[in-house]
Amino acid sequence: MNGQSVTPSLPTGKSLKPSMFSRGARRSALGLVMVLPSFFLLLFMIVVPIFTSIQESLKGNDGNFTWDNYKYLFTDPAMSSSIKYTIHLTVVSSIMVLVIAYLLAVFLRFSTGRLAKWIERLYYIPMFIPSVIATYGMINMYGNHGWLARIMLLFTNEPFMRIIYDYKGLLLANLWFNIPFATMLLSSALSSIPNSAIEGAKDVGAGKIQIFIRIILPLSFKSMLVAATFVVMGVIGSFTAPFLIGPNAPQVLGVAMQQQFSVYFETGIASACAVFMFAICSLVGYFYIRSMMKEER
């Protein structure tokens, strides 16, 4: 305050170091250094590839600017049916996952029986099984000559229902891969609802259904949204299961994109496909972030 640039420190009388080397500046520099690795990772793994993809998707075979790749994406019958197929699969899978996971979570939260205890111990096991192995397991189970088909053969000579290489198989795979995580998220949300909140509602005269609709559902809705976001993103971007047990036509977008890129060497179309998928996910992400911000106000 007295205009001097170097002020003596009070107890020792030594002159203090200039502010460039002060503790605060050093700490913020350290913080910056610690952030840099993740920043570069983000830059080179996500941001730069996105721009390369966008650039690539807008380039024709002659290297000039064109919308052709996107036109192809939405007009080519095979491609557009794949898009519709993917969106349909995503919506149906996500709704089923959320409904099942929510019911499971509610059961785990409020049941004190032995069944609930066992489910609680076992339900997250699918998360620890590599997706390739799980997918082959599914082929073993539901395939044309799988366990289920062989067991059915004991009762009937009708040909076994087609599950693998079909919509149903993908749906089952999505349930397998996504229910445990969604259940985990929803369980933790439900267990954070204190018993006294529910007892309070009972006390003022609310029945079971009223408690569920007016207390439990609203208090776990935010986590439901989080779970929905993760499930949608996971399903739409899934590759292993659709690649191994998905139908050949129409295909799930991830597989279609891989085919365009590695089989037909259509980098432009593959890029357009990637950009489109990213756009869908950004949309979901946008709704997610918006609802989070609204909660925090």
Partner: protein, 346 residues
């Protein structure tokens, strides 16, 4: 005294797997009475309260409200309302919605609900808080809303489960007074559970002291304090000096001092004396010989620690009287009032 019994608990028994619980609890609470269940944690007071509220199913016994058994009714059908220890307002609802929830379930008309909520908020001194969220309120305010929510149900019995124990001391006192005022103006029957004896003494018409699942004593606060019926109550309520003695032929021998006692007690006994009932004189007078160890002035009174052969005795004196005492001084003690319990009852 002719007020009718509002809540009657008969031979209530509830045992948990851990062995804790209550056995054979019987008590009556009259219309408009505020009764406190007081006891250390694990004594079963909350078990009794939650059984009345319907949140616990007793093993045996009966609970009657206004003469009718409510045992078969679930909590939502019982004419009781509960204020919980944790502020259990619903965080996703505004204060208004929190208060109106129960009334909406009762299909009350909108205007009626609005009036009732406004009146209830006035009663707990939070007028105009309707549109606030519970998270915007302080702990004390939240608990006021919780009380208002319970009052709105116009319960036959209001149950309070340590409602103020999470609040700081000053706020606790304030809310106690407010609750007492509300109780006097509404004539509500209340059952209050606490482990805080000060709270029980200041608030209640009657205190029921519980220990290990049994009722030790049920009396007015005054009687509980002045004539504790058991050693446990004597120990639990207020400060108490406990001296070992031997009773024989109508007198109790405490070291070299003899104290008069009723002749029907003999053997090893514990003599209980409140610090304010200890009197002192010069060492030349008859009494229990003691040496002043420490004089501590605690505001309007002083606590004097005395060493005797029977152990340490604490004495409360008005501040001015304590000034003449200094540590090391020899004095002689007598008791203005004391209680005697057989030692085996510990």
């Amino acid at each position: 005294m002719t007020a009718q019994v509002q809540l009657s608990i008969q031979k209530l028994t509830k045992r948990y797997k851990t062995g804790e619980g209550v056995t054979g609890i019987s008590l009556d609470i009259k219309q408009g009475e505020l009764v406190t269940l007081l006891g250390p944690s694990g004594c079963g007071k909350t078990t009794v309260l939650r059984s009345v509220g319907g949140f616990l199913e007793p093993d045996s016994g009966d609970i009657q409200i206004a003469g009718k058994s409510v045992l078969h009714l679930p909590p939502e059908k019982r004419p009781t309302a509960m204020v919980f220890q944790s502020y259990n307002l619903w965080p996703h609802m505004t204060v208004y919605e929190n208060l109106a929830f129960g009334l909406k379930i009762r299909k009350m008309r909108k205007e009626q609900i609005r009036d009732a909520v406004e009146r209830a908020l006035q009663l707990v001194r939070l007028p105009g808080a309707e549109q606030k969220r519970p998270t915007e309120l302080s702990g004390g305010q939240q608990q006021r809303v919780a009380v208002a929510r319970a009052l709105l149900l116009e319960p036959a019995v209001l149950l309070l489960d340590e409602p103020f124990s999470a609040l700081d001391a000053k706020l606790r006192n304030e809310l106690r007074e407010e609750l007492r005022e509300i109780q006097l103006s509404t004539k509500l029957t209340m059952m209050f559970v606490t482990h805080d004896q000060e709270e029980a003494l200041s608030l209640s018409d009657r205190i029921i002291v519980m220990n290990r699942g049994n009722i030790e004593q049920s009396d007015s606060p005054q009687q509980i304090y002045d004539t504790p019926k058991s050693l446990f109550v004597a120990n639990f309520i207020g400060r108490m000096n406990m001296l070992d003695g031997i009773a024989e032929n109508g007198s109790i021998q405490i070291q070299n001092w003899e104290l008069h006692a009723s002749p029907d007690i003999s053997g090893k006994v514990v003599v209980a004396v409140r610090p304010e009932d200890v009197r002192w004189k010069d060492a030349s007078n008859p009494g229990l010989a003691a040496t002043v160890k420490q004089v501590m002035v605690l505001g309007h009174y002083a606590e004097i620690t005395l060493l005797t052969e029977a152990g340490i005795i604490r004495m409360f004196l008005p501040r001015e009287e304590a000034l003449v005492l200094s540590s090391g001084q020899s004095v002689s003690l007598t008791f203005a009032k004391h209680a005697v319990y057989p030692q085996s009852s510990v």
